[in-house]
Point group: D2
Chain length 345, copies 4
């Protein structure tokens, strides 16, 4: 439960008020206990101002590092361009401020490793990474059911990750680093073991993709225990956003589907709605993620995916990107030993 001073909310500074950042600002302002947005910054000052319209006490700052350092900022949410993450997160660690960084933690593993090292040096975990699926009630249910032994030891995982459309000319590597990376993280988290290799297969591409993206991909992951996970990544699936998985164990299977609320019957069909994008599909996951981050920050605790998790995801994604160029050939995921700092959770 929140342990905060009466009348004292965690003051959050948000760097980057694009789609995700603006969404987070709104969620914190309207649906998260114990926090308020005190400052935002964005390359586009107009956009920054729009993001805080109607939020009392929130200011637009011009410099993200100034925001990190600001006295009225207790914790920082980084939702700016991927290339800026490393410097900003390091600044937060140095300032001793909790930070929630949107995924990926950094574009390349080296940057994430520097963040891990900075935390080790600081001697405490301040960094959380925005792998929101860990807060989705469905994924949580799968993990708990697995833990309770409902399906016995896990053997296989079938995953589907579809977006309605991607930006024109998204490179294939973007399918790995932007989309598959969510699968990499959630698979590790569900199974509590590491991914050890990644293979990419290229099915017949969709003719409806604008530009020269090769889409979809089929990604095959192996884990330390020998489990195999096949992951379809299809970011121009046209019909909507659709994330599902089936975990197969020795005794049964757990199937996670998008929850259906209302079934409509009309014109010879029974119909339910498919999500438009990740924001409606995972709205509740984002809210819980932000709430847990805020509650933890107020209590001096790091919650959710940590810097190590963020680092591992970038290592796996780098293997996936390397695998793109040699379809059918497994690429190993090689990790240094996990530092002591990340052993307890």
């Amino acid at each position: 439960m929140a342990e905060r001073e009466p009348g004292r909310e965690l003051r959050v500074g948000v760097v980057g008020t694009g789609i995700m950042g603006a969404d987070h600002v709104r969620t914190i302002a309207t649906s998260v206990a114990g926090a308020r947005v005190s400052a935002v910054t964005d390359l586009d000052a107009e956009r920054a101002r729009a993001a805080i319209a109607g939020i009392d006490g929130a200011r637009v700052l011009s410099d993200p590092f100034g925001l990190v350092a600001d006295d009225e900022v207790d914790a920082v949410l980084v939702a700016s361009a991927d290339a800026t993450h490393e410097e900003l997160v390091l600044a937060c660690v140095q300032a001793g401020k909790p930070v929630l960084c949107e995924k990926p933690l950094t574009p390349a593993p080296e940057g994430s490793l520097r963040i891990v090292e900075a935390e080790e040096k600081a001697g405490r975990r301040l960094v959380s990474v925005g792998f929101m699926r860990r807060y989705d009630p469905g994924y949580v249910d799968v993990k708990e059911s697995l833990r309770e032994g409902v399906v016995g030891a896990p053997l296989l995982l079938h995953c589907v990750h579809r977006n309605a459309s991607s930006r024109p000319n998204t490179p294939s590597s973007g399918l790995i680093t932007g989309s598959a990376v969510h699968e990499f993280d959630v698979i590790r988290w569900l199974l509590d073991e590491e991914i050890t290799q990644v293979t990419v297969f290229r099915p017949r591409p969709s003719s409806l993709v604008v530009g020269d993206t090769t889409d979809p991909l089929l990604v095959l992951l192996g884990t330390a225990s020998g489990l195999l996970a096949d992951v379809e990544v299809f970011v121009n699936a046209q019909y909507g956003y659709d994330v599902r998985c089936e975990l197969v164990g020795e005794l049964g299977s757990l199937y996670l589907d998008e929850p259906v609320q209302v079934r409509r019957r009309a014109e010879r069909t029974r119909t339910s709605t498919v999500s438009l994008d990740w924001r409606d599909r995972f709205a509740e996951a984002y809210r819980r993620e932000l709430q847990d981050w805020v509650t933890g920050a107020a209590a001096g605790e790091q919650r959710g995916a940590d810097a190590w998790d963020g680092y591992v995801a970038t290592v796996a994604a780098a293997a996936g990107v390397a695998a793109l160029d040699k379809p059918g050939i497994p690429v190993p995921v090689e990790l240094p030993p996990r530092p002591e700092l990340y052993a307890t959770r």
Copy 2:
């Protein structure tokens, strides 16, 4: 969006820390933006203390009217025994403080009417009633789909309201005032028209009910436009909490079921979980209800079901209770004209 002073949360006083009250305290403390619990009171001071364990700045007060009057209480949540609602809500109205009162607003219609009259005299709406289903994403979807014309003009409604078990010796009237009343409110809200008559039928009773409750009941409602709604109320259904409805229109039907997240396959069956009680089934509805109430209170606006809605529900429930004694005979629901104060929403 919340419009509140920076660093200034709505300070909520909670009267009654039984199951619902304690739940609300926890929800406000952990999941609602812009509010904190500043005071609680309960006949059982121990229970009140337990409810605020770990919540900084919250005090246990001994007198509920003192809580209403307290300088550190901006808004009041009434979750005490039904018989106490009227006096407490009236005190809030007199103090000019927003109040969210758990349903029923009062045990009998006369009390609710006095609250309506007090608000009219005060010239503004301060009272909200805890009909949380209006915030359930599923019911909201049904209402919006109806509004969008997906099924044409509504003609029939089939409703099911089941609890796993009731307290021993719950009188049949309790099935109406405690359970069916949720249906009465949500039906009015979905359809935007009034219930005009209530008929009760008594099916073969369950032999598994402890004590002399007659359970289940079948309740038939007629509305101003001639729509009929059949409502099963079964509060000792044993297997779990289960609320569903189907709205039938000229062009189709909308079926609201409990959402399924994960389907388990094991031992020759495909299985999903049924809710234990209203708190897990409607957890998200309660959270949204509280959030909207808080956001409205901070903005000087009444949100959700108002005192008039609360009054109408008690009138319909009283008709239902009268109908219990003459199974198969319709009892009219008679309402005075709706006061001007409640015309705009």
Copy 3:
């Protein structure tokens, strides 16, 4: 298992080759073991000829009573106009030939009672009535699950019977005798007890009905044990054919829905198909019904709903029709004692 001479099929004569009759001819010719259609007759000889196109050895006869008497007809299927059923079925009984009569057995109870009396006089059961739902795998599953005690003693039944559209100017009585009658029969069969009263309620009528049919109706049935069944009958539901029911017992509920085979995802929706009419929804039930009738006839046994069941359905339907004129007033269903001939099944 079929016990028939090698090379010797049951020769079926079909009276009436309208929609249902022609369907049955096709089903027998293409999907039923041990039978062939040897003769058909219809007021419209052209239609009769069309029905047997491509069926070797089938003749068109001009006189239905000639068909019943024909040496090449071992068993008779009556699918002609309701008003003709009594005479034809009686002729079959007198000829000692098994007969499957489409529902209703006769328009009024008196005619059905005369058939029952003729069978009693003949000393054996030759008449089956086309209540095909008794052969639907879903209804069979509900009945078996009930029998196995999955939901304990039954208390309530919620039924929905929707057709896309009815013939223009179908009288309201047609909703009872043509549609609700299926519910009356299947409810008796599911529960193994008699319906004792029928009440009709008239909801707001659909404005889309052509002509002056009042549609939908809500029918409330009481049974000998006190169970209540509410039945929506809506024969101009526009969107398709939809038959569902939920049986509620002391321990749980059994929900029978139209089975879904394939879920399509496209254009932001997840979709499955709703049946067009009873023929696709109950195709398998019709096939099993015909197969069981043929197998029974070859073995000298009556199968499926018998003349008594047909009679009871007409008595219940007559009560329902009487109830139409006094909405909200229960009309008793009064039955003479069941004759010995129908005691064993």
Copy 4:
């Protein structure tokens, strides 16, 4: 529609009355129009006698080739051990009698090719292969939906094939030739194109398998157009028989699940039944397959999977078996040109 002489049924001889053969005997006797079982044979004469108990006019013969030649056998169903298929089918072709052979047509491709060549020489198609899924209403729906363009051009296929348990010590090759072979056939049939390569992956094996079977397998298929299909084969899945697939196209997806008839609610769960084995899951498919075979045989037409399809399945299975020994390495599926005889369907 059946075109057969009045009173003249197709006389079917059945070779092999093990589980599948006995099932087919029963289905023909009780649920197929226009046919009867006239003769059976089995190494175990007792079992053969049991299979025809109660079927008039059926004889037990001692020699399968005598059965093929028998004057009272118009068509032959081969359900004996795989190793016997070739000789028996060739005998049927030479005798000019239609034959339905259970899959696999032969254990190795060479045998199937000899059957193809025999048919070419005979100048007509007499052989059908028991790939019953082509008759399953669900698979038919997927194929028709694909044809209608509901999901656009197909890109990916995800398949799951699970059995509750296999015989002890089933070799891994048995998972390919006995189970995956159904997937190979149905994929070709759904897509109307050839499989060009097979890769096998070995996930962590289930510890619950008795004997030294490596189970499950993950099989990756490529087709001529570049589509990829991943197929889980898990024959000791413990919980039941479960066959599903999802076809992903440029515009959407088609998901085939086991149809649910009745949902039970009891003890905090909502439950439906999973099939025990292929016989209940595909009962309707088997019936339709047999009916279509019989109807075709009576009309002088070959229906369903033909000898070429049977041959192609064995070639793909042989590639799959070869792939077992080199996990992760694709093995090509190489086919000679399709003979003219198999061009029209």
